[in-house]
């Protein structure tokens, strides 16, 4: 057997899942399983105790799907990365999300891995956190009583991606003026684990950078914004040298922590190129 003994719970509604999530002790949530199953197997080979209760969300149909309501895009937790990529709602308005989905891992993993798993698995290097922070997404959770609570993606990751309630969906407001660039540097490794990734978003208003977000995922800590460079970029006019000028305004502590020189260099290059790409696109 590859896995230790476990008790599998397969609720059929979100409310049932939310109750079990709160009530059961020693529990792990099983979404697509691409992180969890490998993790459980690895722990078993090391002789480490693994969680007794596994809460599978596979049968909870109301946790699946992508929809657009007025100007908001809603992505439910159990939507797979492939389903998200193939969703017609992402074409034109959320192309950046399609681009990110397309580049996640491999085809069978994308067929299995879920949006919710990628976002809330508490691995620091996954793709969705920086993108959701850049898009100013709101994350929704269900309490065991069936009530909904929400938190911004940024605050969720400031809280180390911890929640006592079950993640159900994310909502992203559409912004026609938004320009986004996502960049990722892949680490040569057995698994597709990005060395670093980042997302730069701005709303261009007559060439003027506004509401800028520069979100950094170092792979070591949870994704976070670089407020200093955002402040520098806001109210600037797009220009060919804006990316280069921005390099003197980075919050160095974000990039220097336990990062190699190569990684720091790649961060600088990636941010500069992302800014240049936005300037050129206008």
């Amino acid at each position: 057997m590859l896995l230790n003994h476990l008790t599998l719970h397969t609720p059929k509604t979100t409310l049932e899942a939310a109750r079990l999530f709160k009530e059961l002790e020693d529990i792990k949530v099983l979404a697509g399983g691409t992180f969890l199953l490998n993790s459980l197997k690895l722990l078993k080979t090391k002789g480490t105790k693994t969680s007794k209760n596994i809460l599978s969300l596979a049968k909870v149909d109301d946790l699946k799907g992508v929809s657009v309501d007025s100007n908001n895009l809603t992505i439910k937790a159990m939507t797979t990365i492939t389903e998200l990529f193939e969703s017609p709602f992402l074409v034109d308005n959320f192309e950046i999300l399609r681009k990110v989905c397309r580049n996640i891992s491999t085809t069978p993993i994308r067929n299995m891995a879920t949006f919710g798993g990628n976002l809330t698995c508490r691995y620091t290097w996954t793709e969705m956190p920086s993108l959701m922070i850049a898009l100013d997404a709101t994350l929704f959770f269900m309490t065991p009583e069936g009530k909904t609570t929400s938190i911004s993606a940024e605050d969720f990751f400031k809280n180390n991606a911890r929640s006592e309630y079950l993640f159900t969906h994310a909502v992203i407001a559409q912004d026609a003026q938004a320009r986004l660039v996502y960049r990722r540097v892949r680490k040569m490794s057995d698994v597709d684990q990005p060395l670093l990734s980042l997302c730069v978003k701005t709303s261009l208003n007559n060439n003027l950078w506004t509401k800028t977000r520069v979100v950094i995922n170092s792979g070591i800590a949870f994704a976070q914004r670089d407020y200093k460079v955002e402040e520098f970029l806001n109210d600037k006019i797009s220009s060919s040298d804006l990316g280069l000028k921005a390099m003197d305004n980075l919050t160095n502590a974000i990039y220097d922590t336990r990062s190699s020189e190569y990684k720091q260099h790649m961060f600088r290059i990636s941010i500069q190129r992302a800014i240049e790409e936005i300037c050129k696109s206008n």
Partner: protein, 156 residues
């Protein structure tokens, strides 16, 4: 716990403990050893099966989580003595070297070609990005996928 799985159109009622992966159930309980055990950590694709038309890794799938679902394995592609076009093309192109990765390659190729009979080179490479061939026999594999697509297109 008791679950029902339809594997290659045959219904099975299974008594499981809950911690069995689909790979273990296919091989150890149903004797379907065409699905290969290799890395067992979702990197190599040798254990690929098809569920709902999509390539899925059976080594990271809990069998008990699939109650009521239909699964296709390499054994379910041929109809009697008639090989599936993808299987035929792999033979005709000499796509198999050591052969260990081939069931997974064929399942991923089948999932692709059932949706798209005429994939481009990059679409084939993208669909097979989760399948590793340690013999590095990729060119012949890709040629076979292209030919199989052509045959499936003509047969459609």
């Amino acid at each position: 716990m008791q679950i029902q799985l339809t594997v290659n159109k045959k219904l099975h009622t299974l008594e499981l403990k809950g911690n069995e992966t689909l790979l273990e159930v296919l091989r150890d309980q149903l004797g379907l050893t065409g699905t290969k055990t290799s890395c067992q950590e979702s990197e190599c694709g040798a254990c690929t099966v098809i569920i709902k038309g999509k390539s899925i890794l059976s080594c990271i799938t809990l069998a008990a989580n699939l109650d009521g679902q239909e699964i296709r394995t390499i054994e379910g592609l041929a109809e009697g003595d008639n090989l599936h076009p993808v299987q035929k093309a792999f033979i005709e192109h000499g796509s198999s070297q050591c052969g260990f990765c081939i069931p997974g390659m064929i399942m991923s190729s089948t999932a692709l070609l059932e949706k798209n009979h005429n994939p481009t080179q990059s679409e084939i490479e993208y669909a097979l990005d989760g399948n590793i061939c340690r013999c590095a026999g990729y060119p012949k594999i890709i040629e076979a996928v292209r030919q199989a697509g052509h045959e499936m297109d003509q047969g459609a």
